[in-house]
Amino acid sequence: MRRTFDAELVLRLQTALPASIDDTLALLGRASYVGDRALATVIFLSLRLGRPLFLEGEAGVGKTEVAKVLAQTLDRRLIRLQCYEGLDIASAVYEWNYPAQMTAIRLAEAAGEHDKDRIEHDIFSERYLIKRPLLQALETGVNGAPVLLIDEIDRADEAFEAYLLEILSDFQVTIPEIGVLKAPERPIVVITSNRTREIHDALKRRCLYHWLGYPDLEREMAIVRAKAPRAPERLTAELVAFVQRLRMQDLFKSPGVAETLDWAAALAELDAVALDPAQVSDTLGVLLKYQDDIAKIDGAKAQALIEETSAELRRLEIG
């Protein structure tokens, strides 16, 4: 894994890491990601100190987006490892290309090659190594180390967590047949979790932790304006205020920011200018994904909420 490269050239090509918290906010803004200052601080520290970023929060608040935004604005490759139960080394780190290796052996024998050591040396080389995400993350591209997104780590089991801990401490992988592969530059690591299971303390201690909560009214409006510009201004204000109120209800699963954006797009598609009770009831399925919740909000309750949001918006305009 030894690559010789011109260090200066790399430095010139690399987009510089943000130098301050304000810089980080600007960086996020460049990709239309509306984040708050706390998130920018944690991202800045993560980049500066070289520690993985551990994002936890409800579903649909933009955890995965952070990694994509970082990759986009810092001009790095994004390597995504989607976790699931039973994820093991063969799927996460590397695997040998057995069919190709066997074919190579046959060919070598057919060609009259009898030196066993030589064959073995050829077979177990990088050429026949299938690199999976974690190993890919150890390679440095032209623009610098990639962004490694480990998504939904709570779905993987504890055995995988232990292995991940090992990799995140040294950023090196030992392949018995080849040797130790070490990353010349640490990748930018973002780990997300939906909190369906408690992650082991040892892993969290290594990372910088941040909880991504639901945004407040102003920020969510900014997000909708940035990501769903087709929706008219009045509709944006009303639907965001409605969703904010919805989150205060005792729902089994509150709608996330992703749902708000979907709803804005849906209403814009239906040429809505303002919130209409019938339309809201019809499109509730975009916001709420559990029948119990829909039953709670449907009909009269939706009407009441719309009236409350109108009143609130009038107050805000006056005040």
Partner: protein, 406 residues
């Protein structure tokens, strides 16, 4: 070359000292921080610079807080510490659930702690009050058989002690289930390509196939324990059972009375007495009233998605006597049943042979459980272990019989 902010004069050094003190305060308040965290904090503050208060707050928060629940504690500690250091000791005492130096008496109260006996023998001889629930049924011949069928609520302190020892000797349920993770070995279903290939490289040329088979694991258990007045003694011994169960698998334990308390971490303590003492300290509503529906609602909303993952079995220990809002109780039981792999309801009221499901709460809950069992003595506990070992889907005759009677 900029100088480190910590070296820049006496003010810089003072800041570093304050951060160390703050970390110590947080540690006392309950946040698990190692010395590494302090070093990280200093590095982080140096990297972020001393901007305004909010940035400083977020910087320390990023380093010291590793769980969403700790955030509130950190917030309070931060506001207090960076305003007036003098008050910090008093306020830590108010923040923590267990103030140092006061809990050592509690184990003695809860019924003969071995440590309390050993250390405080002379001093506490007179202060060791007898347990509050006591029918002095000290049997002259207390054989193992009599202990097995003795009702928990009628046990003396000594018998409780013996019961706890007996619980530790119970045979835990053998209900391991296949997982999606594969491990080498077994006459498995999948070919282990890697090992087969390595073997084939050895002289001989014949490719012997190696196999992988799924690993097995005992499903995690989530226990919801009623700690109201009538349930008190039964739940305490059940917690001992849960502690032993916790050695074979992941157990998440919740206590509910007038509020819901998560005692999973407390139960992880190796010493069972200490685990129980920590649980006692955490929950403040022992022997109070109970609102089952509300407790289940809180559990479903806040914890169910986290704790019930990976095929968990729910153990519910409560007498089911709910007074108000049976509709809500039914709705929450419905949701709980839908989120769990299996719901096992253990009820000490079943100690009465002529038990009939007449109470509204019991009738509301019964249709949603998979298994309805007694839990009033050691024999019933052993039966529970055996029942958990049996495969699922077996029809519970007791439940059917009780529901049939109008």
């Amino acid at each position: 070359m900029t100088t480190s902010i910590f070296e820049a004069g006496p003010r810089g050094g003072l800041l570093a000292q304050n951060i160390v003190h703050f970390a110590r305060a947080l540690r006392e308040a309950g946040l698990p921080l190692g010395p590494g965290a302090v070093l990280d904090a200093l590095a982080a503050v140096e990297a972020a610079g001393i901007g305004d208060r909010e940035d400083f707050y977020t910087t320390l928060h990023a380093v010291f807080v590793k769980k969403h629940e700790e955030s509130l504690l950190f917030d309070q500690a931060f506001r207090i510490f960076w305003k007036r250091k003098g008050l910090i000791e008093k306020l830590i005492a108010m923040l923590t659930p267990k103030a140092p130096g006061q809990r050592s008496l509690k184990p003695a109260e809860a019924g003969a702690s071995r440590v309390a006996d050993a250390l405080f023998k002379s001093a506490q001889e007179s202060a060791k009050a007898p347990p509050t629930i006591e029918l002095d049924a000290r049997l002259t011949m207390s054989g193992a058989e009599i202990l097995r069928s003795k009702d928990f609520a009628q046990m003396s302190a000594e018998e409780i002690d013996q019961a706890r020892k007996a619980i530790r000797r119970l045979v835990m349920p053998e209900d391991r289930r296949r997982t999606r993770r594969f491990a080498p070995g077994g006459r498995g279903v999948r070919v282990d390509a890697r090992r087969s290939f390595r073997r084939s490289l050895q002289p001989g040329g014949v490719i012997d196939l190696e196999f992988r088979s799924p690993t097995e694991r005992a499903p995690p258990v989530v226990a919801l324990c009623d700690i109201s007045g009538s349930m008190n003694e039964y739940t305490r011994l059940f917690l001992h059972f849960l502690h032993v169960l916790g050695e074979t698998r992941r157990v998440s334990a919740f206590l509910f009375g007038t509020r819901l308390t998560n005692v999973t971490r407390a139960m992880r303590a190796r010493d069972p007495d200490e685990a129980l003492a920590q649980c006692s300290a955490l929950a403040v509503d022992w022997s109070g009233g109970t609102r089952i529906g509300e407790a289940l609602a809180r559990f479903n909303r806040d914890w169910a998605r986290r704790a019930l993952g990976q095929g968990a079995i729910t153990l519910l220990i409560t007498d089911g006597l709910e007074r108000d809002n049976l509709d809500r109780l039914e709705a929450e039981m419905d949701r709980l049943a839908k989120s769990s792999r299996r719901v096992v309801w253990v009820n000490p009221l079943l100690r009465f042979g002529d038990f009939e499901a007449k109470a509204g709460g019991i009738r509301a809950m019964l249709p949603y459980v998979d298994s309805f069992r007694p839990i009033h003595n050691l024999a019933s506990m052993a039966d529970l272990c055996r029942a958990l070992t049996r495969p699922e889907g077996s029809f519970d005759s007791r439940k059917g019989r009780l529901l049939a009677v109008p």
